[in-house]
Amino acid sequence: MCLWAGALEDMYWYAQTLYHTGQFHRAATLLCSRKLDKHYAACRYLAAKCHFECREWQEALNILDMADTSLARSSILNMSISQSFVDQDSSLPVKGINSSISLLRGRIYEAMDNRGLAADCFRRALQQDVYCFEALDLLVSHHMLTAQEEMDLLNSLPLTVCCGEEEMELVRFLYENRLKKYNKPGKQEVPESLSLLKNNMDVVVNLAERNYYNCDFQECFQITSSVLSKDPYHSQCLPLHIAALVELKKSNALFYLGHKLIDFYPNKPVSWFAVGCYYLLTKNYEPARRYLSKATSLEKTFGPAWLAYGHSFAADNEHDQAMAAYFTASQIMKGCHLPVLYIGLEYGLTSNAKLAERFFSLAKSIAPDDPFVLHEMGVIAFQNQDWHEAERYFKEALNRVQSVPYQNMPDKWEALLNNLGHVARKLKKYDEALEYHRQAELLLPQNPSTYAAIAYVHSLTGDNEQAVDYFHKALGLRREDAFSTTMLGSVIEALMVEVTPCDFPDEDSEAFGSTKLPLPPLPLQRGFVDLDSQSCLVSPSDRSSSMAIEEVEMDD
């Protein structure tokens, strides 16, 4: 280098080496002192990157900006220089430097919490170079765009210009595969022509993620485990695997995984996220918060950690703090509806229905097809006693859920079915209500609130015998259920009043039949009194469903 008295490529390579050995300042100074960064895009990029590595965002940005303005000023000259330079010597990786610069700029903006600009930069990077996967990855994994925007971006990419027929299909499939998966349940198949990719890790992981959002945790877990057995530290797969472990309550495996990750990658947020999730799963919220906040401090844009951080408060009924965490998450994950959904849930739990509704509609505007959102909207409508509206939402959610060809519907949706039952009951469609509750029972057997709901419907239709039976079942499973206890008392009383002697079974059943026609007086009155406790009956299941969703996002 000395010999050549600062030949360009030597300078560049030298700086590059310094960069790779972690001597960022030295490299930057090397480049800047010779003003190389002013003239050559590659050098500018490298210098800025050095500053970026040192977390000197502003400096980095300055270098990039300065070049931009100078570029504008003496564009022709510079262009020619760099152009000629490129022509002369292709050893400098100038191809795609523009997109790289855009990417870097985006990352800097993101680090400076300027997410709007960052997203723009990433988008530009992708436009400049369709192969700039990193930009897409960042956009998607940091949830910067809504699903619609993502689709628009993908469609606007100049694929036809940049790549051949086959490549286009490939790139398009891979990108599409990578896009938002959770906003609506669905499946994606690998097209025939690309069947070679079937076992590609990334494709497989994306499939697992889809399974996860379809609540098929077992399947997801199997896929992620098989991926991790081939590649134990597949970075995209890890958060998913952790989430599946949480969902399947495999705390021991999570504990071990967390330990391994901490040992190997103490600087990665995902390691601390794993530990935090372990404590969350074992209901040790204090340490969970500690480790999750560590994860967020390592990388502020690590959305899952923020959400889990919020859950750790929510599980403790600390609604305000939970909301604060969710708000941060919503800032970070602009394109993701989950933080907003959780904020709505928290508002709902603090019985602030108006605000909850507003946040739910916000979530709905981001992800209009997510059944979870629809379900929560239904719950709010239910609480506002707008039964028809609630029914509409629930049914829509059910439609969405059923659009996935499940072999077995995941039992997460038991709450949805039960709520449909509640609504049908409120609308006095008792048979329908029973049917929904039955389905819920099939989905998730031995659930006391389902039994209580069935019993309640029976008592309203005057079938006190069945009602008593089901209340007994409910109480057998959850002994201290106040609703069931009081209802059982009154229903038994009513039953015994209406049932005349059992001496002659035939006569007896007739007598029973005749009293069936007018609704038995006692339970009905009770029913009115119990309206409040009735909604209590609903809310636990909502709560569980909300917990369900909470877990759902956990990864991503």
Binding site: Q218, N408, M496
Partner: protein
């Protein structure tokens, strides 16, 4: 129904031997035992040709190593290991072993994890069952389950309280594999009434008759059950322990104590080391208060195997008879630790808690019993009693009613119901109950008296009088009576006749009244009134009043006196419930 008398016993035996082979291959031990027992009871020769192992089809060899290893682990009760070995194997046998071992692993784990305090089950942990169910239902939809797989699916569904689907699956299972008794048994526990039983489409084989008999026993239709069992006995199964035991149980349920005891002691002779059903035997001995025999039975069972539910129940009964209730409870608890789904231990423990006046524990125990088997009328009855003590009449009414529905011809339930209605001031219903209780043969007595008292309360005098009269006649005939009730009956009758001016009858009954210390004073007054009335009408002076009273205590229990009520009998005829 297949005609039992014309059974081809050779065929039956061959089938049973094959069934045993299939069951033991799958480690369905109880099913295998049942088949072997029945087969050994049949005294016919089977050609060795039929017993030769049929050529095994290919897919059995395909997993041969895995299956062998898996069954070896299974026999050592290492269920998880057994399941793991055959994981992913495709042959029906291997996949059955896989699922079955997983099921058992889960069950044993839950048993081990169960908290020590009996009856305080925490939140239900059915995660494993749910995943099993998911997998099985997927296979079921794809028609990959054979008869045994269906049986397992049915069992899992039943565990998850999804009885409706369980019944469907189990019916399918018995149609596929009719000689697997376990499936029949599980199905039997899910049948709620006769209509349901008749609506099932079951294979038309001799096993079906056995199944029907078993269900009839459960449904308290003992005559029908006995008939079937008798037919089997006549057809050549007379040496079968299984059928003898079932007959004994039928007698026990019919409260035909002596016959049942006889049957059990016969069973004891044939199969001295048998423990099954011995708890029922001990119940019988308990009821008959045959202390020595019960002690002997307890010691014998204890010698055979201390840690069997049946043994624990026998010992518990023994201590209960000696009124050592704590010890009895301890043994019932041990039984439940061994098998938390053992019905009679729950019920018996409930009874013990009742004896110790621990109502909440009793309720727990009874409820658990009902969880295990909804048709246990004793548990329902016990619940009724406890709630009666807790002064919650509606609840106890409900429970008594359940018990009554299960055992419509038992007067004890009806009596309890009647008393409940009486407490709730619903006298008409109460009246019906007592009347019915009397008409179906009052076991403990008292129905008539209660009925009479009720008529008295309702001031239906005619009825009351006839009821009291009949009560007196009955008790005189039986020779059992309580002074208080008799005296009240006589007093009422005396008043009744007096009011109707039937002075002779009034006199006679008043005389009887005077026999009892409780009513002597009333009787004196009554006699004086009668005397006064007589003298009023006939102008006679009261002469034998005094000495009659003197003489009375001596002939207190003179049965010949009853003929003096000859005149009352016509009234009896009007007494039609």
């Amino acid at each position: 129904m297949a005609d039992i008398s014309s059974l081809d016993l050779t065929r039956v035996k061959e089938d049973l031997i094959n069934a045993h082979r299939e069951c033991s291959k799958r480690r369905l031990l109880h099913g295998a035992k049942w088949a072997a027992e029945l087969s050994s009871a049949l005294n016919v020769t089977v050609s060795p040709h039929a017993l030769a192992v049929k050529a095994v089809n290919e897919d059995q060899y395909q997993d041969f190593d895995k299956v062998t290893l898996s069954t070896a682990y299974f026999d050592l009760k290492e269920y998880d290991r057994a399941a793991n070995v055959v994981e992913g194997a495709t042959s029906p046998l291997a996949s059955f072993l896989h699922m079955y071992s997983r099921y058992l692993a889960d069950i044993t784990r839950q048993l081990d994890n169960a908290s020590d305090s009996i009856g305080h089950s925490g939140p239900v942990d059915n995660g494993c069952l749910k995943t099993l169910r998911m997998e099985l239902s997927a296979k079921h939809v794809n028609k990959q389950l054979d008869g045994f797989g269906l049986y397992l699916y049915g069992v899992v569904l039943k565990k998850l309280d999804l009885s409706k689907s369980a019944v469907d699956v189990l019916v399918e299972a018995v149609n596929r594999e009719p000689l697997h008794w376990g499936a029949w048994q599980e199905l039997g526990l899910l049948i709620t009434d006769r209509e349901m039983l008749l609506s099932l489409s079951l294979p038309n084989l001799w096993v079906r008759s056995l199944f029907l008999a078993q269900v009839y026993l459960e449904l308290q239709l003992h005559e029908e059950a006995l008939e079937i069992y008798q037919a089997f006995m006549d057809a050549g199964f007379s040496r079968s322990n299984f059928i003898i035991a079932q007959i004994a149980i039928a007698h026990h349920n019919m409260r035909d104590v002596d016959q049942a005891v006889a049957a059990f002691s016969e069973l004891e002779k044939i199969d001295p080391y048998r423990l099954e059903n011995m708890d029922i035997y001990s119940n019988l001995l308990y009821v008959k208060e045959m202390r020595a025999d019960l002690a002997h039975l307890a010691h014998r069972c204890c010698n055979i195997n201390k840690y069997r539910v049946e043994t624990c129940c026998v010992i518990g009964n023994y201590y209960s008879l000696r009124t050592q209730h704590e010890k009895a409870i301890m043994y019932f608890q041990r039984a439940l630790r061994l098998n938390p789904h053992y019905l009679s231990a729950w019920t018996l423990m409930g009874h013990e808690f009742m004896e110790m006046k621990n109502t909440s524990a009793a309720i727990q125990a009874y409820r658990q019993a009902i969880e295990v088997n909804k048709r246990d009328y004793r548990a329902w009855y016990g619940l009724g009693q406890t709630y009666e003590i807790l002064k919650m009449p509606f609840y106890s009414l409900y429970y008594y009613r359940q018990a009554h529905l299960l055992k419509p011809n038992d007067s004890r339930m009806l009596m309890a119901l009647g008393e409940c209605y009486e407490k709730l001031d619903r006298l008409q219903e109460s009246k019906k109950c007592f009347r019915k209780a009397h008409s179906i043969g009052d076991v403990e007595g008292g129905a008539l008296f209660k009925l009479a008292k009720l008529y008295e309360r309702l001031s239906e005098e005619e009825q009351a009088a006839s009821a009291f009269t009949e009560y007196i006649v009955e008790t005189e005939r039986k020779g059992t009576h309580s002074h208080e009730e008799m005296s009240q009956a006589y007093r009422y009758l005396a008043n009744y006749y007096l009011a109707r001016r039937q002075l002779d009858d009034a006199y006679a009954t008043a005389q009887k009244c005077a026999e009892f210390t409780e009513t002597r004073e009333d009787a004196k007054v009554l006699l004086q009134q009668i005397q006064a009335l007589r003298s009023h009408s006939e102008g006679l002076t009261p002469i034998h009043l005094d000495d009659s009273i003197e003489s009375l205590p001596t002939d207190c229990y003179r049965p010949s006196d009853s003929h003096s009520f000859g005149r009352v009998t016509p009234v009896n005829l009007t007494f039609t419930p």
